[in-house]
């Protein structure tokens, strides 16, 4: 990839579509491998996109994930159309979850999604407006 090139991937994520949850992250990972991105960076991006996908699937009215890759960094924007997070500080606590019993039985909703995303990010931002939606932005720098 030359310094000016940028690859942008965009995925729609549907609410409660567990059969498709994981497809966006799997595809992103394949693209990163093809681009020759180091495997430790690829793993971090895979975890961020997967957790974002699962969060949108479980908690939202649907949304999208946009992954922008350039020579220096990878930016993941996960945006949904509501209902929004009432208390972001609580949502960021390890182990806190509002997921239903059904979702927990599948092994989701352990309250580790957002903390995992933050841990794997170099920069991490979360904005939420009740009734409107949530946008999570994660930036991961590519080392040489």
């Amino acid at each position: 990839m030359s310094s000016r090139d940028m690859v942008i991937l965009s995925y729609r994520v549907n609410p409660e579509d567990f059969a498709k949850a994981g497809d966006a992250s799997s595809n992103t990972k394949k693209v990163l491998k093809k681009l020759g991105i180091p495997s430790d960076i690829t793993r971090r991006v895979a975890i961020v996109t997967y957790e974002a996908e699962i969060n949108i699937t479980i908690h939202s009215n649907g949304g999208e994930i946009i992954v922008s890759i350039d020579k220096a960094k990878i930016e993941i924007i996960a945006r949904d159309y509501g209902p929004g997070i009432p208390d972001i500080d609580r949502a960021m606590e390890k182990g806190y979850s509002t997921a239903s019993d059904h979702v927990r039985e599948m092994g989701f909703g352990a309250g580790m999604g957002l903390p995992n995303m933050k841990r794997c990010s170099d920069e991490f931002q979360i904005e939420s407006q009740k009734g409107k939606g949530t946008t999570v932005t994660s930036t991961i720098y590519i080392h040489d």
């Binding site: 567990f18 994981g22 990972k29 793993r43 975890i47 997967y50 699962i54 309250g111 580790m112 995992n116």
Partner: protein, 110 residues
């Protein structure tokens, strides 16, 4: 050790992902909470779980685990098998519960 040798040594039942049977095994991780597995399992690990829905394949594939062992006689969903075949992630099943299987993995040097 590769997945095929592991499978033979422990008498596991391979149900999907045959083309990944030569993947190298370098350790194991046991757990059923997907976010914990994503955060803590390593590339090349055997993953022991009682989850059997299609998302286990996405998790194993994303962090490049060697294979999935579905323990405790849990039946694996058809779409999970399809996904595992597509991704080349072996799924092995056993009647042993997670603890018993992990002891056997340990005895085998995994």
């Amino acid at each position: 050790m590769n997945v095929n040798e592991l499978c033979r040594n422990l008498g596991l039942n391979p149900v999907a992902g045959q083309k990944g049977m030569d993947r190298a095994v370098n350790g194991a991780y046991a757990g059923d909470l997907l976010s914990f597995v994503m955060a803590n399992a390593s590339k090349g690990n055997v993953w022991v779980t009682i989850q059997a829905h299609a998302n286990i394949v996405a998790v194993a594939s994303l962090i490049e685990m060697a294979c999935i062992i579905v323990a405790a006689g849990v039946e694996v969903d058809g779409d999970t098998l399809d996904k595992a075949n597509g991704e080349g992630i072996p799924i092995l099943t056993t009647g042993d519960d997670t603890y018993t299987l992990c002891c056997k993995l340990h005895d085998l040097g995994v």
